[in-house]
Amino acid sequence: MSQPTPPAELVFPDGLVGLPQLIRHSLSTVPDSALYELVSRDDPAFGFILAPADQIKPGVTDRLRSRQLVAESEWVLAILAVHGEPPAVTANLAGPIVIDLEKATARQLVLEDPEFPLQIPVAEAV
């Protein structure tokens, strides 16, 4: 399955969750990977790596669409972080980033559902 080409500039009209001041962002692909990097234009020191949510946990997008939380034109990414010792990569499915590919806008959801954990170990995701 090919990945959609994301817009290079993204506007989060409401900012990120708890960070409403972070509205304008740049989105780029991480070379030789299926990953993306989002960097705030409002605070260039702020940014993170993302992975398509369906690669972290297959069916995430369909599940959110069935709940009418994500539209057909939208694409869902999960923020990656590092936790534990030894360090391990985790993905945040409780607060996914939803990108409207047509409007080049995005928003962050907060999902109250144990199927969408805050820190799902990436290594165990498949």
């Binding site: 080409t5 070379p31 020191a45 690669q55 990569v89 409780a94 962050q108 999902l111 820190q119």
Partner: protein, 106 residues
């Protein structure tokens, strides 16, 4: 802040489409039932804070994450020691052998 007193079975309405009902009281815990339109997010306040904290941690960990994921690219095998190769298999399985494309490529 509006403060209301309710008993189990009683409810309050917020706006045109949100109902909050006190289902039962268990010791120092109140069990609530919330009916809201599907587009209205209903989440615990602490989860919102946790999501914000997680985003901040993800930002702080960006450099470390790049280092952890770097060994999945063609590098000497020794550099992969201690790194979860299966992460690479997940995240890089769709990598384009011709290289990245599209706008905003770093």
């Amino acid at each position: 802040m509006l403060v209301l007193t309710r008993r189990p079975g009683q409810s309050i309405r917020i706006g045109p489409g949100i109902d909050v009902r006190v289902v039962r009281i268990e010791g120092d815990r109140v069990v609530l039932g919330i009916a809201a339109p599907s587009h209205v997010a209903v989440v615990r306040s602490e989860l919102v804070e946790q999501v914000t904290d997680e985003v901040r941690e993800a930002s702080d960990a960006r450099a470390k994450l790049r280092v952890m994921l770097a060994p999945v690219r063609p590098v000497p095998p020794a550099a992969k020691e201690g790194h979860p190769a299966h992460v690479a298999e997940l995240l890089y399985e769709e990598a384009d052998p011709e290289g990245p494309e599209g706008p905003g490529v770093a």
